[in-house]
Each structure stands twice: as C-alpha cells, then as structure tokens.
C-alpha cells in the first residue's frame, strides 16, 4: 500500500495558542480519513495546512510521497470542497467547474470532456447555464463537488461540506459521498464535528481535541475501545455512560462497587488482567445495559435501580436512571413495559465496558 498523505510531527501556533500539537497521521491510497472533534480543536486548521492554505511551524507533510514544504496549493494535486461551497458568484455552473482547468491552461477539448463526464456523474447536466444564486443548497453542493472532481486529484479535502444542508439532504449527500469514494477509489480527508458523519463515512477516524490527536482508528475501534474519556464521550449518540466506581481485589477477580442514591451500593464482578486502581470510571454504551438477560450470558449482571426518565426513540426506548452519582442511559426494547419511578433490573454487560483512570482519563483495559 502506498501512502497518499503522510503528516509527521506537525506543529502550528496562532500567537501563543498551540492549534496543532505534534500531529502524526498516515493515509493510504483509497482510504477515507475523517478528522472529527469539537469546534476549535484544530481539525479545519489541519486541513488548511494539508491544502497549503496555511503554513505549518514545524514538521513535514508529504502528499503522494513528495514533501509539500513551500509547495503552493495549486501544485499539491488536491481538490477541496468548502462548507460555504465557495462557488464563484458571477460565473455559471459550467464556468465554475471549468475555471481551474482554464487557469491551468488545459485545452478546450479536454475541458469539455471532463465537464461532461463529471456533470453526468453528479446529475447536474441541466444546471450548466445557471448562476450559483439560482441553485438550491443541494445543487450548490453538487457543483462544488463537481469542481473538485474535474481535477481528478491525488487527494480530496472536504471541510464540513454537509453542515449547511438540512437534515434529510445531509443524509442523502452523505450516502452520495460514500458512493463516490467507492466508485472512484479516491483518497479523501474529511473534516466534521458530527460524529455520526464520521462513523458512517470513515475507514479511519482521527479524533482531535485542543490541537492534540486523541485517537486514530477504524470506526469500530473508536466506538468500542475509546482511548480516553473524551473520545468515549464524544463518539456515539446517545453518548457512552461514564459511571464512577471503586474496586477491590478478591481472589483474582475485581469487585466493582457503584454507589446508588441513598441505597446499598451495587456490586459487580469483573475479570481483568490489568491492575486497576481503587477509583475508576466505567464507560459503558447504552446498548450494553439492557432490560433482560435473554441469552443467559454470564457476562450480564443485574443492578436494581429506579427509572427516572423514559425516552421512546421508535426502534428502541432509552431508560435513564441514577447510578454512581450521574445519569445512566440504558437501551431497552421499544415494547418494554416500564413505568416511571419503578425499581427494575438493569443488566450490565461488563465485558464490553471500558475502564478509565479518573485522574488521567486514559483507558486502562
């Protein structure tokens, strides 16, 4: 596999603020990399650095195994799609798409062929003579993608391209981008703050916070084995439950004690090779707390607790209760008949849980 994008030890400061702190990322041909994080985490800055629109203070960026230091954006063999689409307002759709080719001096014949190919692919043939102001949001989005596609670049860069669309269109375009990635076997870097977009699109996710990479991994890894509390909390909706607990070692097994409101604490057994500290935080996703131990799996252990909130979500019903001093969400069947305020069994699957150190926030198991 050959590397399309290799970022090594990249640092960048705005004044005194470290916006990018020792970033290292490798992307192979055909991969879909999603940079995700809350606003201000440096993900857009990193994308601009890859594009060459911002200078880096130190480190190296290689695109297609060539060093990009002091290489202009136009010579990096990239194409970029922007959040605001950035269509040229006075040009028609056709001119918008062909502008780059015209500037680079491609002959008319090639321009025409590429244009035809791309507009067909994006189904915007009938829009060629319109101005951007005469297009809907989704159409503008397609034109912006068309402008990137005619370039046929080594690397596609997307800067939150869907965040200006309404919810329904966003899901449609998301599918379309994924199809495009598959059809073109293209390498893509995609910035978003939407963790669902990240999960659905990526082959590789980079979670960032305050200019530091928190974790790099496949969507499966990020979701199931988050590297720290931040990633655990940020990825997934509803987010992972983080429950404070204390441990005691007992015959090669840990006993985990979770405080209950004004009642005797709950005790769960937990097998683990690693040494756990006294204080821990258990990270467990709602789908690993269910109502009935149907499979009789011994991984499931019950805790009795009061039902505080019932949130039907159609396919499932989320039940909220208080454990360890915080709210805990469980995922029940939509048919389950739970009454508000009653005390019921919550079945925990601790084999799917993540254990975090409350001091560092890092994963322990």
């Amino acid at each position: 596999m050959n590397s399309v994008l290799n970022i090594r030890n990249v640092n960048k400061k705005f004044g005194k603020v470290n916006v990018l702190n020792d970033i290292n990322i490798n992307l192979n041909k055909g991969e879909f990399l999603v940079l995700v994080g809350p606003s201000g985490c440096g993900k857009s800055t990193l994308l601009n650095c890859i594009a060459g629109l911002e200078k880096i203070d130190s480190g190296d960026i290689h695109i297609d195994e060539k060093n990009m230091i002091n290489i202009e954006p136009k010579d990096r063999d990239i194409a970029m799609v922007f959040q605001s689409y950035a269509l040229y307002p006075t040009m028609t759709v056709e001119k918008n798409i062909t502008f780059g080719m015209k500037v680079r001096g491609l002959d008319k014949e090639t321009q025409k062929n590429k244009l035809q190919e791309v507009v067909k692919q994006l189904q915007i043939e009938n829009l060629l003579n319109r101005k951007p102001s005469q297009l809907s949001g989704g159409q503008r989005q397609r034109v912006a993608m068309g402008r990137a596609l005619v370039r046929d670049p080594k690397l596609f860069l997307f800067d939150e391209p869907l965040s200006n669309l309404d919810a329904k269109l966003r899901v449609e375009m998301r599918t379309e981008i994924k199809k495009l990635h598959y059809d073109l076997n293209a390498s893509m870097v995609y910035v978003t703050h939407d963790q669902i977009e990240a999960m659905t699109l990526a082959t590789k996710i980079v979670v960032m916070k305050d200019g530091v990479i928190q974790q790099i991994g496949s969507p499966f890894q990020i979701y199931n084995t988050p590297a720290n509390i931040f990633v655990a909390d940020f990825m997934g909706s509803p987010s992972m439950n983080l429950i404070k607990a204390t441990t005691t070692k007992n015959k090669g097994q840990y006993l985990i004690e979770i405080n209950k409101n004004k009642k005797k604490p709950a005790i769960l057994k937990y097998n683990c090779k690693e040494n756990l500290p006294k204080e821990i935080i258990i990270g467990i996703r709602p789908e690993n707390i269910i109502e009935k131990n149907s499979s009789k799996d011994k991984n499931f252990q019950a805790i009795k607790s009061d039902v505080k909130v019932i949130e039907p979500a159609g396919s499932d019903t989320f039940i909220v209760t208080d454990l360890g001093g915080s709210e805990v969400t469980a995922r029940f069947h939509s048919e389950s008949e739970v009454t508000l305020g009653s005390e019921i069994d919550f079945h925990f699957n601790l084999s799917k849980a993540s254990i975090f150190d409350p001091k560092t926030g890092n994963r322990l198991n």
């Binding site: 922007f82 101005k131 102001s133 949001g137």
Partner: protein, 291 residues
C-alpha cells in the same frame, strides 16, 4: 368595526398630511432650479423688466451659447468650452485611476490580511478626514518637485491621492463581507493574486464600482479649491471658470449667462447619477455563500 373604520380614516388623513409635507419640501428644493432654468432661457431685457419666478415670454438659447463659447473669464472670452474639456480630462482619468487603486487596496486589505493591514487601513481611513486646506502647501511642493505644477496631470495626481482613502474604504467594506473561502477555492484552482482579482472579485464589484464612481466623479468635478490652487491659465477646471464668469465685473451683469453657465457646470454630475444609477443593482453576490 367602528374602530376599524376610524383607524382607516386616521390612516388616510396621515397619508394626506405626509404627501403635503413631501410636496412642500420638493417645491422648496426645486424652486431655485426652476428659477435657474427659466432665467437662463430669458433675454436680458426680460430679466430686467419681468418677475423672478415668471415663465419666459419668449424662449431664447442665446445665453446658453454665450455661456458655452463666448462668455468672458477674465481677459479671455471663449466661454466655458475649454474649461469643460479640462474638467473632463481631469475627472475621467482621476476617477478611473482612484477607483482602480481603491479596488485593489480594498481587495488586499479585506482578503489578503497581512501583518500591518489593519494599521494601514486605519491610516488610509484617516486620510478621508484630512481637510482639503491642510494638504494645499505640501501638495504644491510635491507637484513642484515632480514638475507637474499647474498641469492637468498634476491635478489628476492630486485628486487620485486625495480620493484613495475613500475608494479604499468603499471597496474594503464591500469585500470584507465576501467569505475568504472564495479565495481559498481559487488558490486551489490555481489562480494567482491578480487572476483572482480580475476573474472573481472585479466581476462581482459592479454595485460598489458604481457607488465609487458616482462619489469620486461628483467630488472631482465639483472641486474648486484644488482646481484654483494647482492650475494655471490653460488648465483651469470648469468650476474655476464658472467663478470667473460670474465674478467678472465688466459691464452689465448677465444673469441669464450666469445661470446657463451654472447649469452647464452641473450637468455632467447629474448625468452620471442618471446613467450609473440604473446599474445600481444590489445582491450580485447572493448565492456564493450559505443558502
């Protein structure tokens, strides 16, 4: 129901009152123009005998032809014609150059932020507030050094320099609302600094170009102080000539010629408003950004 009809009655009354006030203001402002036009179309005889606001009994364009080609400005008696052309030769290049420089400045300051861009913009802005009189002496010295004293190119230079502050302000404020992503996209497309300016920014600047041209043309055409200070016999603009015609004290005061001269001097700015106003279209950038 009663409430409704009484409130609609009040509305009608208010509307009538509003129109009366507007009509009075329009009348008040148009009266001098009316007097100017009618006086310029009367013979001197009629002006002496008739009333100020009466219509001319007999239309005559003699005063206009005198004003255009025979009226005396001091010792020469060639009318406004040569000075009119002087003003054209000063105003048109000065408007074009200052508008172009303003567009370029505004583009750089709004879209290509560099280290001192805000300070430079503040200084340019400061230039807008410097009174004409303050720069007379230094400018005279500069024109002398450049060997442009008393020449039309010298006057063009003065107006360009004095206008840059305003034109930069106009264009900067217009361009600052254009998202920076447009430049980023163009950079990735391979366009350079000037290509982006020509192909993307200038085409969407029509509304602000019109505003700037109207402003600059009016300023330069109507300027008297620079014109009287930095010109010599053959290079005076029309405003200076108009002053000389009106203030020439030999013989009888020809009010009809004075009025005709004043109207001729004011016509080009009026024309610019009428023609350029048509292109005063807003919202050309709509659609480049978020839906």
């Amino acid at each position: 129901m009663i409430n409704n009809s009484s409130s609609s009655y009040t509305n009608v009354m208010l509307r009538i009152l509003l129109y009366i006030i507007l009509f009075l203001f329009a009348f008040y402002y148009l009266l001098p123009l009316f007097v100017m036009i009618t006086t310029s179309l009367k013979s001197l005889e009629e002006i002496k005998t008739g009333s100020l606001v009466s219509l001319p009994r007999e239309l005559t364009f003699d005063a206009w032809s005198v004003a255009w080609s025979k009226a005396c400005t001091g010792i020469k008696c060639e009318g406004l014609k040569p000075y009119f052309w002087n003003s054209i030769f000063i105003a048109i290049p000065a408007v074009m150059i200052s508008t172009f420089i303003g567009a370029l400045n505004g583009y750089v300051i709004a879209q290509w932020r560099f280290k001192w861009s805000n300070i430079i913009f503040a200084l340019l802005l400061f230039g807008c507030f410097i009174p004409f009189q303050v720069i007379l002496l230094p400018m005279a010295r500069v024109l002398g050094i450049l060997n442009l004293a008393g020449s039309i190119p010298g006057l063009i230079l003065v107006h360009v320099v004095y206008g840059i502050g305003f034109t930069t302000l106009f264009f900067r404020n217009f361009y600052v609302s254009i998202p920076v992503e447009l430049i980023k996209a163009a950079k990735i497309d391979g366009a350079n600094f000037f290509r982006i300016f020509w192909s993307i920014f200038l085409p969407l600047s029509l509304p602000i170009i019109v505003v700037t041209v109207i402003w600059q043309f009016t300023q330069i055409w109507n300027d008297f102080l620079f014109g009287v200070s930095f010109s010599e016999a053959g290079t005076q603009p029309i405003t200076v000539a108009l002053n000389n015609i009106v203030n020439s004290t030999t013989g009888v005061k020809e009010y009809n010629v004075d009025m005709a001269s004043a109207i001729i001097a004011a016509l080009p700015t009026l024309l610019v408003y009428i023609i350029a106003g048509k292109y005063f279209i807003r919202g050309l950038t709509a659609g480049s950004v978020k839906g």
